[in-house]
């Protein structure tokens, strides 16, 4: 609160990426958690919500005739270009946002104040929803070869591993501790995934390296080096990709050259290749595999989790995917706090390692549209919350730190909230758990596509104008409702002897997806220099497209918004937002 000096600025313009459209004019509000922009120039009230934690950079640009521009880039690739009338207002919003977007103390993170009015009991049950022990049981562990040990209960072996780890039964405590002295940060080889198809005990393992093993000292071991670049290369690559995505009316060549020069898809392919290699080694060569990079919490996490997805259909379900993220990323100490820049810290520690994993999953969805229980929105939702700090799951850098922060006592887990929304996050084409076993993706370069839905997600104009996903989801739910109501009516049939107008069940229109996503579509600027008579400004259609974007955006951000947390001074907004909340729940 103390960071907000100017909670409300009027006459703020929001520029559109498309130059030929009129800028919106409205009011900008700063609340404890969000920046909210209300467009007053539109006929229908439109709001743009930006979570402070989502803000990656805030820039003041040179003065223009319209005023003082403020450019905001978000970690979920939203970009907002405001123009504020007064320099003083612009500066105050700027300094407030700088502080609000980069808290210094973990206690300032949203998760610690987020209150969805859930009972203490339910909150605790929420944290128990994903239990890694159940997953190990599913793999048949403990067994003759593997055991779950609490050797790390006081974090003596490794302070970035969880208290319970899976190690070979034959390795006693002395062996484990001895090995930990030889591995960077004590990150000894522990089990990631046991592939049950093999007779013996194959394992995809993880460990920290820093250097590599001398082959002479390890019997029966083959080395394979897979060139995934380090976090700094990845950070720069994403930066270049985003510059390409933000180009104003680029030519096809500009775009493709930029895409190539960013190297982004090359890195995505490298991660996928490594995952495919690992899965093949386990499945086809029936080998046990030890995976490591330097510390074993970035590239190792990517590769192990991808291989698990390729091998085991369970991880392709909603619940299984949550288990996978908990197991391979959260429990094993991927440093979300540093990689996502949750707190004011070293910018060189920030890197899109998790984003790359999410993208690899999306690439797999493109090749195997019926094999995942969840849809693209599920991935985007998780990606949003990795940065939103609204839930405790991704705070801190490892299990120990999360214990110290008391996140299990003070915050909520994301997973139950996602499962609640399963209806809209599921894949209507999913053919079930047993339809596909191992996946063997094509990894030729042409199999990788640019993910417009992620990196240009808020440029709705670029997306298909009609949404197949919405349509299929609504078809499915309509069909279900009609079936239910039909059987209800059928049960009454024998007792009735005439038409039943009063019993008619009223249902939303089938195919309402068509009306929900109407053809709100207007021609864009189809030429470099439009002759003035062709650029006829915004039309009703433009406005609707905008409101759709904002509405969706607002839903994404404010879905679990506790309205009582909002700045109380903004009564107007609160009442509006409450309406929004009623609509959403």
């Amino acid at each position: 609160m103390e960071h907000i000096t100017t909670p409300k600025v009027e006459n703020v313009k929001l520029l559109d990426r498309y130059t030929n459209r009129k800028a919106a004019n409205g009011t900008l509000y700063l609340t404890a958690t969000h920046l909210i922009y209300v467009d007053a120039s539109a006929e229908v009230r439109k709001e743009t919500w930006i979570l402070h934690h989502h803000i990656a950079t805030v820039e003041k640009l040179p003065l223009t005739t319209a005023g003082y521009p403020l450019l905001i880039h978000c970690k979920n690739f939203h970009m907002a270009h405001f123009v504020i009338g007064q320099e003083r207002d612009c500066h105050e919003v700027y300094t407030s946002l700088l502080k609000l977007s980069q808290p210094v103390k973990p206690e300032e993170l949203y998760a610690f104040s987020y209150n969805p009015k859930m009972s203490k009991e339910n909150r605790e049950i929420g944290w128990k929803l994903i239990d890694l022990k159940v997953d190990y049981q599913r793999m048949g562990i403990p067994n003759d070869y593997w055991e779950i040990t609490d050797v790390n209960k006081d974090y003596e072996v490794c302070n970035t591993y969880p208290p319970e780890i899976v190690v070979p039964r034959a390795a006693n405590k002395a062996v484990v501790i001895g090995s930990s002295r030889f591995r960077s940060r004590g990150r000894i080889p522990v089990l990631s995934y046991l592939y049950k198809e093999n007779n013996l005990n194959a394992m995809a393992n993880r460990a920290a390296g820093k250097g590599y093993e001398n082959e002479d000292n390890y019997d029966n071991i083959r080395f394979k080096f897979i060139g995934i670049e380090n976090i700094h290369v990845m950070r720069n690559s994403l930066q270049k990709l985003l510059e390409v995505c933000e180009m104003k009316s680029p030519s096809m060549s500009d775009f493709l050259t930029g895409l190539e020069n960013s190297g982004w898809l090359r890195h995505i392919k490298a991660v996928m290749d490594a995952g495919v290699f690992l899965a093949k080694a386990l499945k086809d060569e029936k080998a046990s595999v030890l995976v490591h990079c330097s510390d074993g919490w970035d590239r190792t996490a990517q590769v192990c989790s991808l291989a698990s997805l390729l091998l085991d259909p369970f991880y392709r379900t909603c619940k299984g995917f949550m288990v996978l993220i908990e197991k391979e990323w959260i429990a094993m100490g991927h440093k979300f706090s540093h990689r996502c820049g949750h707190l004011d810290g070293d910018p060189k520690e920030v890197s899109p390692v998790f984003t790359q994993f999410i993208e690899c999953v999306w690439q797999l969805m493109q090749q195997f549209p019926c094999t995942f229980e969840f849809n693209e929105r599920f991935l985007l939702e998780i990606h949003d919350h990795v940065y939103s700090c609204q839930f405790g799951n991704f705070l801190g850098t490892c299990h120990k730190e999360r214990e110290d922060l008391k996140i299990f006592e003070k915050t909520h887990s994301l997973w139950p909230f996602l499962l609640q929304k399963k209806q809209e996050l599921r894949n209507p084409l999913y053919r079930g758990f047993t339809a596909y076993k191992e996946l063997q993706p094509n990894t030729l370069p042409f199999s990788f596509q640019f993910w417009c839905g992620m990196y240009n997600r808020f440029d709705k104009g670029m997306h298909p104008k009609q949404c197949v996903l919405d349509h299929l989801l609504s078809c499915m739910s309509q069909k279900m409702k009609l079936e239910d109501n039909a059987s209800e009516l059928e049960n009454k049939l024998p007792f009735l002897d005439g038409p039943l107008p009063s019993e008619a069940c009223s249902l939303p229109k089938i195919g309402c997806a068509a009306s929900k996503t109407p053809m709100l579509n207007t021609p864009q600027d189809y030429e470099g220099e439009p002759p003035p008579l062709l650029s006829n400004g915004a039309s009703a259609g433009d406005i609707d497209v905008m409101s759709d974007v904002d509405q969706k955006h607002k839903e994404n951000l404010s879905h679990h918004q506790d309205l009582r947390d909002l700045n109380d001074t903004i009564d107007v907004l609160n009442s509006q937002a409450k309406d929004g909340k009623l609509r959403h729940h």
Partner: protein, 511 residues
């Protein structure tokens, strides 16, 4: 000379056929006047006597042979972009087969209906007739037009013969003048750059000078055609077939072949034409040089964008018949060779493919708005380059008339519109949409058409399964299912106040 006389070896046994992504099959190879057949050996991999390959020889774009010891391998690169390998025991047989295909394929490149004789029409041939182009009166504001359709006219032509002396033609000026009312403005979209249009004057062509056509405003939107377009196609297919390519090289070649740039340019220009009509409510004249290539690309695409009746299965066929075939796109010259041919390029250019690609882009951006599916676009591509039907034969109506194409061949449309066939080409997600469909032409919105360029390179199993799943999900039939269970009651579903109402009423005669 009849082709059969040129066949030196008509059948060879134990030929191994392989094609990327499919298991190899061994069988008997047989050459007929028009086809290459391979039926698998009894007791072999396939079922006894199963026909594994039925390839129109006209579909062959390039033949390569490699001899080793006592056998040889023939690689057939087809116009539909598939690549087949035949391992033939016996050197002589191999050479004979190869030369028969080569001869056939040269003879076959002469125009004329005798080479397009229909081989098998499943006994339905009697019912097949040439489709009359559906009566779509483009540009005339009849009562049947949907409300969104502007009563503006789109015209197409070739370039005016202005020449170096800046000739004028009163009649031409009058003709264009009659299209516009007093004070009304029209747009001329020239598919060449301003400079190219000016240069055309040196060879007798040119463009409409402002002074002579004062009511018309000229816009230049250069679109590639001819050799550069064919080379773009060849380079793209080359890159797609390179399986040893790395990511950077792939993106580099995708960019430098410029195919997607051509797609973007074609869509943008068509949108501009549509915008002039729909937004500016102006009449539009489109032309390039001859008015048979990029002109048709623009006018046909603009109609798909503007007019919902062109987005139905029948309407789209009508559009092709009217805007491509009757409008005189020289299919015979443009589609003589596809991307694999090493022959010296003459008049080949994949303008029709570019059009199909643009329609595919529309279908991706508006998945509910086209009644037909990708399958139709692929079939059209295949038939434009090699067909058992007469529809795409010759270069214009006059040639088709001289060759008696309609008398001697069958129509592709008649084949496609048979009830059993038709189903294959329908889009299960289709919901008629009366509005204009404005696509995004941002590079992020334009994708490489994988279904065409990778059709024979990657497995489509998982994508086909997804398609089948979509068909299952949108298929209704709920009411029918319910009604099967009841004898005295009938369940009806009807729309009231935008809600579907389900109710049971007694079977007629009961009340």
């Amino acid at each position: 000379m009849e082709f059969s006389e040129l066949i030196k070896t008509a059948t060879v046994e134990n030929v191994l056929l392989s094609c990327a992504g499919l298991p190899a099959v061994k069988g008997t190879l047989c050459i007929t006047s028009h086809h290459l057949l391979l039926s698998s050996c009894p007791g072999g991999d396939g079922q006894a006597g199963t026909v594994e390959l039925w390839l129109l020889i006209r579909n062959v774009d390039a033949v390569e042979k490699r001899l080793a010891n006592s056998s040889g391998t023939i690689t057939l690169r087809c116009k539909d972009l598939k690549v087949l390998q035949l391992e033939i025991p016996g050197m002589e047989e191999c050479l004979n087969i190869a030369s028969s295909i080569e001869v056939r394929f040269w003879v076959g490149s002469e125009p004329g209906p005798s080479h397009a004789r229909v081989q098998r029409l499943a006994g339905e041939s009697g019912r097949l007739q040439w489709l009359e182009a559906p009566p779509i009166l483009w540009g005339s504001p009849s009562s049947g037009c949907p409300p969104s359709l502007a009563p503006q006219a789109m015209l197409r032509s070739s370039q005016p013969l202005t020449g170096p002396n800046r000739k004028r033609c009163r009649e031409d000026e009058t003709l264009l003048g009659t299209v516009l009312d007093e004070g009304e403005r029209g747009f001329i979209i020239d598919t060449r750059s301003a400079q190219a249009a000016k240069q055309a004057r040196m060879t007798g062509g040119g463009t409409e000078p402002k002074s002579s056509y004062p009511q018309w405003r000229r816009l230049h939107r250069p679109l590639e055609r001819g050799r550069p377009l064919q080379e773009s196609f060849i380079k793209l297919v080359d890159a797609c077939n390179d399986t040893a390519i790395n990511m950077d090289r792939w993106l580099n070649r995708l960019e430098s072949c410029r195919w997607l740039s051509h797609v973007k340019a074609a869509l943008s220009t068509a949108c501009l034409a549509a915008q002039c009509m729909d937004r500016e409510e102006a009449n539009v004249l489109v032309h390039g040089a001859e008015g048979t290539d990029t002109t048709l690309l623009v006018t046909a695409l603009a109609q798909v964008i503007l007019d919902p009746s062109c987005r139905t299965l029948v309407g789209f066929q009508g559009l092709l018949e009217r805007e491509w075939i009757e409008a005189g796109h020289p299919f015979h010259l443009r589609c003589a060779r596809s991307a694999y041919s090493h022959a010296r390029l003459k008049q080949e250019a994949p303008l029709f493919l570019l059009f199909l690609d643009c329609v595919w882009q529309l279908s991706r951006q508006f998945p509910f708005s086209l009644e037909f599916s990708e399958c139709l676009l692929l079939t059209l591509f295949d038939n434009a380059y090699a067909s058992a039907y007469g529809t795409f034969l010759c270069n214009n109506e006059k040639e088709r008339c001289l060759c008696k194409v309609k008398e001697n061949t069958h129509s592709l449309w008649a084949w496609l519109n048979q009830p059993g066939e038709r189903k294959k080409y329908l889009n299960p997600l289709y919901l008629p949409n009366a509005l204009v469909i404005w696509p995004s032409v941002e590079p992020q919105s334009i994708q490489l058409w994988q279904g065409l360029f990778f059709r024979w390179i990657r497995s489509s199993q998982y994508l086909d399964e997804a398609w089948a799943e979509i068909q299952r999900k949108v298929g209704s039939g709920l009411v029918q299912q319910i009604n099967k269970k009841h004898q005295n009651w009938v369940c009806v579903c009807h729309l009231e106040n935008n809600d579907w109402l389900l109710r049971f009423q007694p079977v007629q005669g009961q009340t």
